[in-house]
């Protein structure tokens, strides 16, 4: 193994995160190379200094009490499922929608080459916002027969809602969101700790389009058009599992 490769992997070696083969290669190299060996010793010395010097701050005793009582208050105040709530349409969403309209107004049609990029950006923003602002779902339910009718009267179309729990993708609920300059259905699924937002809305015109895979800011996106509907799936899940999810929807 070269010095360059060794130096690049040295932190992984220190943290015990390399596979066995790499580990052995690095050990051999360190035995022969004083420079890399010194670099490794420096890292070890830093680790010891940090562990000895940087305190682990334990929570003060009063904090547990405070947290418990805050949660108790919140659980008392918790309303029934927020069915029909339009609170998601926060100022930020409206502002984003206005900006979107302004940005897209001069663009004839959304099928411009940059349309996909803009839409991908917007879909990722929606996904992130849904996770950050405690607005993951408006109708939290793992029952497709609860989620689907909830959209009635809120959208001018009816999205298909599939239960994929037996395949390892749990339905968490549904939400109204705003994408491509219009209200869309957002169906939320979960795989382990990873959430998937599936945005669905009707196509203006045109035929089916094959799946396309994109990556933005560390999120994976897959979009396609089928049966007169646009579908955009966004998640921090890895590509192959997100692809598996999309295949199940077909």
């Amino acid at each position: 193994m070269s010095c360059q490769t060794t130096q690049k992997l040295l932190d992984g070696y220190l943290d015990g995160e390399l596979d066995l083969v790499r580990n052995v290669e690095i050990e051999e190299h360190l035995g022969d190379c004083p420079a890399c060996s010194e670099a490794y010793e420096n890292r070890q010395a830093l680790r010891s200094a940090v562990r000895a010097g940087a305190p682990y701050f334990k929570a003060p005793a009063a904090l547990e009490k405070r947290v418990r009582s805050a949660v108790r208050e919140a659980s008392k105040a918790e309303p029934a499922p927020r069915v029909g709530s339009w609170r998601w349409l926060s100022v930020a969403t409206v502002a984003a929608a206005v900006i979107l309209v302004l940005v897209w107004a001069p663009v004839p049609g959304l099928r411009e080459p940059s349309g996909e990029t803009l839409l991908a950006q917007e879909a990722v923003s929606d996904h992130v916002r849904s996770l950050m602002a405690a607005h993951l779902t408006d109708v939290p339910s793992s029952d497709q027969h609860t989620v689907k009718p909830w959209f009635n009267g809120k959208l001018d179309f009816s999205p298909e809602v599939r239960d994929l729990s037996s395949q390892g993708f749990l339905l968490v609920g549904g939400r109204l969101d705003y994408l491509a300059g219009r209200p869309v259905a957002a169906l939320v699924y979960q795989r382990r700790q990873h959430f998937i937002n599936l945005f669905v809305w009707p196509v203006a015109r045109g035929s089916n389009a094959a799946e396309e895979m994109l990556a933005r800011q560390g999120y994976n996106l897959i979009h396609w058009t089928k049966g007169g509907m646009n579908y955009w799936a966004v998640s921090d899940l890895n590509q192959s599992e997100l692809h598996e999810f999309v295949k199940l929807l077909h």
């Binding site: 010194e38 200094a49 405070r66 418990r68």
Partner: protein, 175 residues
């Protein structure tokens, strides 16, 4: 009744990570008062999200919320921290000292280490705290910080380099 079950389960699953939550919040906000507020807000958010949590690693799940809450908190209540890009020219000077680096580091006193870590930009500080103090794996760090697992090692490498250089500079001056 359902609400009571939810709370009981929440307390059982999430409350044991109070120290981890406080430690991360403390390192990100720099003081006890803000850290306590952040932790309280974190638990309230976590409680609202709890229906969406279906098992898995509750510690990384909670720490991801601590992190988001801390940054939102800082944006709201603090002037932006200095997040200068690493200036190779400025920071890559060789230390003048003849003492081997490892020896210098071995002599670093606790106060100095703590201060150097406090002063690192947040993106470097958080990965070091998660790795060295919380003992998280690369996968867990990726989940908390929301970066691809492939970039955890290089983030840590850069963070360690920054910290080492800051320490060696101070120590070389002293010796």
């Amino acid at each position: 009744m359902e609400e009571r079950n939810k709370r009981a389960r929440f307390e059982q699953v999430v409350l044991p990570h109070l120290d981890a939550a406080y430690n991360l919040a403390r390192w990100l906000t720099h003081n006890d008062h803000d850290a306590q507020d952040v932790v309280q807000e974190t638990y309230l958010r976590a409680y609202r999200f709890f229906e969406g949590f279906r098992g898995g690693d509750s510690r990384t799940w909670l720490l991801a919320i601590v992190r988001n809450t801390s940054f939102t908190w800082m944006q709201r209540n603090r002037p932006p921290e200095n997040t200068d890009v690493f200036d190779e020219q400025l920071h890559s000077e060789e230390s003048e000292s003849a003492t081997p680096e490892a020896l210098l580091l071995a002599g670093a006193d606790q106060e100095l280490v703590r201060k150097a870590l406090e002063e690192l930009p947040a993106q470097f500080r958080e990965v070091l705290v998660l790795r060295e103090l919380e003992g998280l794996s690369y996968k867990e760090i990726a989940d908390v910080v929301n970066i691809p697992i492939g970039t955890v090692m290089s983030s840590l490498a850069r963070a360690r380099q920054r910290l080492r250089e800051a320490l060696v500079k101070c120590l070389a001056k002293e010796s």
